[in-house]
């Protein structure tokens, strides 16, 4: 297989270890005076967006930041719980850049680019340094050093954390850096603004059309480069752990303007989420992967067991992850854990009213911690109750906020009975195709963080999303953007009355008019839920050719229905959340179709993409490296018409193998 001529990944020459070092030392630079006249647009203010905007402004570029929320601090990076990985080897347990690189490639089921992942592992340590310098209050040991914990898919402890709120603390660090630049006038902040389209002139990205969500007015903004840091598209499934506002619109508009979409079918289903409780549900809540450190996952050995979990004796419990994967146990990667839960529930061993849940049980570890505490306190012959009470305190300190949240949502006390959990859509490894510079196939248009496809292959390891978002923003784009902008120093700011801006704005206006003019009978949410059902059932945790083919037809029909029967109340020139949703759902519908097409094209199972036709006798994902060791980059050719381009994945440093966590 050869890489399509339309794709140039621009991976530097040299050995894996030297690529990034050499690149950094030789990439074109922009001198400080020229930086002042170069304008960069950053869309999205999560970890990738805030860190990129702050770093570029510090370097001297003129930056504009857009976010649809009322403040950059609300971006959904804020909700990441467990931690951020870095190859610091502070625990002296054998970690290294190479091991982080290796774990990430293997965890991604050998569908990521080696050079990108290695770079990510190389800069991971700098991220921790930078965040600590900003005042991010990571958890610490009594000696004052940083604390670590373990996450899925690894055998070392390399995850840095701040209680169950690591994403919040990292984002607030980046947000602080961003607000500092806003205060200095280096960044112009446009909150409550949503990007509606990319403006391209002579094939290069030159700005965006944005809608002021308060006044409803459309605005034109010029930039020498446009950075999309707009996160993932998990909300295509309607129910996910994403925030309500997370959307694909920016990436999708870029896609329609020429940016190829990479591996859209790679979605991550997170194994430990609170199960759906009813059809009123608007979102799903994650219970951090860090809980799998101390929680044991099980189902009853007997089908349809009506007993309370406490009444089921040890020997009648099936700790299926420990049984199937003794080496990694409860800490197998997410895709493996999710599929195993689905397998048990499909086989009829599920628990709870819906039977679509498994237990996550802290009892054993509460007793273990309690015993340690009793020893520390020098208690002789403590009662079982004392031990349990002591252990409960330890668990409370580690995961208190998560346990409280669980109780708030389910009205059950997880200290007294095991949590009921089930997999839910969490993250999208797919995204805009980018080269080594993080540039899409449209010159001057970049994608950072979850919005790009680059580093996680077919499955992302826990605590690696924060790492990637910050790596892209703090340590990659500040170098790689110079490669492009150094050629743009002669480009004067283009006035926004240029015909390309006028045309792009007119197209957006036309679409808004169309949405209002339909005056149909169904709300936007109706269509979103319908799309979510199709996607979850036919393009979810397990997929097959028949289902995907049906899904494509159903989505095409849904699109027709949407554009003939949706009702968007209110007016354009006001704060109109239904109009916002309508735009987003319209784009999700189109994306859903592409996801199914990509999933149908990929006749193998890998990571989060599980095709039922392709599995080992044990039910593990069965890759087809001979035919599918490539990135599927889709080009938009018109309505429901996408052309596949392949980027061959070359593994020169890692031997391809069947993943084995047993």
């Amino acid at each position: 297989m050869a890489t399509s001529s339309k794709l140039n990944s621009k991976i530097p020459e040299g050995t894996l270890e030297n690529k990034w070092t050499k690149y950094r030392s030789t990439v074109h630079l922009v001198n400080p005076a020229n930086k002042r006249s170069l304008e960069v647009i950053v869309v999205g203010s999560g970890l990738a967006g805030s860190s990129a905007a702050a770093s570029l402004a510090e370097m001297g570029y003129k930056v504009k930041v857009f976010c649809f929320q009322d403040s950059p601090r609300r971006a959904h990076s804020i909700a990441a719980q467990g931690g951020v990985n870095a190859a610091k080897n502070y625990q002296n347990d054998g970690d290294s850049v190479y091991r982080l690189f290796y774990d990430t490639i293997k965890g991604g089921d050998y569908r990521a680019r080696e050079a990108n992942v290695h770079r990510l592992a190389e800069v991971s340590g700098n991220i921790i340094d930078q965040c600590v310098a900003q005042g991010v209050p990571f958890a610490r040991e009594y000696g004052g050093t940083l604390s670590n914990r373990s996450f899925g898919g690894t055998q070392v402890q390399r995850t840095f954390y701040a209680a169950g709120q690591t994403g919040q603390q990292l984002l607030l660090g980046a947000y602080s850096a961003l607000q500092r630049q806003v205060g200095m006038g280096a960044v112009t902040l446009l909150a409550r603004h949503e990007m509606m389209d990319v403006v391209t002139i002579d094939g290069k990205a030159r700005g965006i059309i944005a809608r002021n969500l308060v006044t409803g007015k459309l605005e034109r903004h010029f930039g020498h480069a446009v950075l999309l840091c707009t996160g993932g598209y998990g909300n295509v499934f309607y129910l996910s752990t994403n925030a309500m506002g997370c959307n694909v619109t920016a990436a999708w508009k870029a896609h329609k303007k020429g940016a190829f979409f990479g591996n859209p079918c790679y979605t991550q289903i997170h194994p430990t989420c609170i199960p759906v409780s009813g059809d009123h549900q608007s979102k799903l809540t994650l219970m951090s992967e860090s809980l799998r450190n101390d929680g044991r996952i099980w189902v009853p050995k007997q089908k349809d067991d009506k007993r309370k979990p406490k009444d089921i004796p040890e020997e009648e419990r099936d700790y299926y992850l420990e049984r199937r994967y003794p080496a990694f146990g409860n800490l197998v990667p997410r895709d493996v854990a999710s599929r195993a839960a689905k397998e048990r529930c499909d086989a009829g061993y599920g628990v709870g009213a819906s039977k679509m849940a498994v237990y996550l049980d802290f009892e054993a570890n509460m007793m273990r911690y309690g015993q340690i505490e009793a020893n520390k306190k020098n208690l002789h012959n403590p009662t079982k109750e004392t031990i349990r009470a002591l252990g409960k305190e330890v668990v409370k300190e580690k995961y208190g906020n998560l346990f409280d949240m669980y109780k708030q949502i389910t009205d059950e006390d997880p200290y007294e009975m095991p949590m009921r959990i089930y997999p839910a859509v969490h993250y999208t490894m797919g995204g805009l195709w980018v080269d080594y510079n993080l540039m899409t196939t449209v010159p001057g248009l970049y994608a950072l963080g979850e919005a790009n496809f680059s580093d996680h292959g077919a499955n992302r390891l826990g605590a690696s999303a924060l790492m990637q978002g910050l790596a892209d923003g703090y340590f990659v784009i500040p170098y790689t953007i110079g490669d492009y902008l150094s050629e743009e120093i002669r480009t004067k700011a283009i006035p926004t009355d240029h015909e390309a801006f006028v045309k792009a704005e007119a197209e957006v206006q036309e679409r808004i008019n169309k949405l209002f003019s339909i005056k149909g009978t169904k709300s936007v949410d109706y269509f979103h839920k319908a799309l979510g059902r199709i996607m979850w059932e036919k393009c979810g945790m397990a997929r097959n050719a028949k289902g995907l083919t049906e899904a494509i037809a159903e989505i095409q029909q849904l699109k027709k229905d949407f554009w003939s029967d949706v009702r968007v109340p209110g007016e354009q020139n006001e704060f109109n959340t239904e109009l916002e949703k309508a735009h987003r759902v319209a784009d999700f519908i189109e994306l859903g179709e592409l996801m199914c097409k990509d999933a149908l094209n990929r006749n193998e199972s890998c990571g989060g993409h599980f095709r039922e036709e392709y599995q080992t006798p044990d039910g593990e994902a069965l890759r087809d490296d001979a035919n599918f060791a490539y990135v599927a980059a889709w080009e938009y050719k018109g309505e429901s018409n996408f052309e596949l381009h392949k980027e061959e994945l070359k593994f020169e440093n890692i031997k391809l193998a069947q993943r084995n966590y047993a």
């Binding site: 403040s71 991010v136 610490r140 607030l172 009813g278 009123h280 549900q281 608007s282 949240m405 006001e574």
Partner: protein, 255 residues
């Protein structure tokens, strides 16, 4: 579509935009399940409004897991409703009784103008952050993370302050619309850590100056902010900020 068997009456503040006058409107919320979150109850009401050709109620929300700080409803006389320690999105309908009348208002404050209905403009918080809520360290300037040793207690106290989600419930709860808890949380976090100590005087002076300019009221130590804070940020932070401010005002080595 019915989800449950609770029926409620809502009295909700409706206001077209920041310049117009608002008023209360009454809505029926029928078929509500006790397992719904408060915002999901609003989803149901809005769905019914849209299908009957009426305009839905605008409200701010995003993550719906209690961390983004975007949801902001003043419910029956309390920010984020009748239960302490949670945001509106984590409030569930089982905290209400069938037949209840629930009054829902936006955050009130000169520094939080209403944008529409229940959504308010909290950009004043961002401007306070721009005035000094940071450590002045450019990307790439950092030394190895473990070179800075921080006593666990200091790190934990800093974290407790840093847990602030910037929702503005403190301002909404305060009878004077004071933003002291929000500002002091950031001042405390950074002044407790060695990284932030370097510029702690400028920070507190500039952030308080900006806070005053935004039109927030004065702290009168009722403790309502602490009681209503979804993250239980402590009043100790306010005292710490008072201390820092006093020290900075009288000892700062600048004109």
């Amino acid at each position: 579509m019915s989800h449950g068997n609770m029926n409620l009456t809502l009295k909700v503040w409706k206001q077209k935009n920041k310049d117009s006058k608002g008023r209360f409107e009454t809505y029926d919320a029928k078929g509500i399940s006790p397992d719904m979150s408060f915002l999901e109850m609003f989803d149901v009401v809005n769905e019914q409004l849209i299908s009957s050709g009426k305009e839905p109620i605008a409200f701010d929300h995003d993550c719906r897991e209690g961390i983004c700080g975007m949801c902001s409803m003043y419910i029956n006389g309390r920010p984020h409703g009748p239960k302490g320690g949670i945001t509106t999105c984590q409030l569930h309908m089982r905290s209400f009784n069938n037949g209840d009348t629930i009054v829902v208002e936006p955050w009130r404050g000169a520094a939080f103008p209403v944008i529409k209905d229940l959504a308010v403009d909290r950009s004043s918080f961002d401007r306070i952050m721009s005035a000094g809520g940071f450590v002045s360290v450019n990307t790439g300037n950092a030394k190895d993370a473990n070179n800075i040793l921080i006593p666990k207690d200091d790190a934990d106290t800093a974290f407790d302050a840093a847990a602030c989600i910037g929702c503005g419930a403190c301002v909404a709860a305060c009878k004077n619309s004071s933003a002291m808890l929000f500002v002091s949380a950031k001042v405390s976090q950074l002044s407790l850590l060695p990284q932030g100590k370097v510029e702690k005087q400028d920070r507190v002076l500039n952030m308080v100056k900006q806070m005053d300019e935004e039109g927030f009221g004065n702290c009168t130590n009722t403790g309502a902010c602490e009681a209503e804070c979804p993250k239980s940020i402590s009043l100790e932070n306010i005292a710490r900020m008072n201390r820092e401010y006093l020290g900075a005002s009288f000892t700062q080595n600048k004109k």
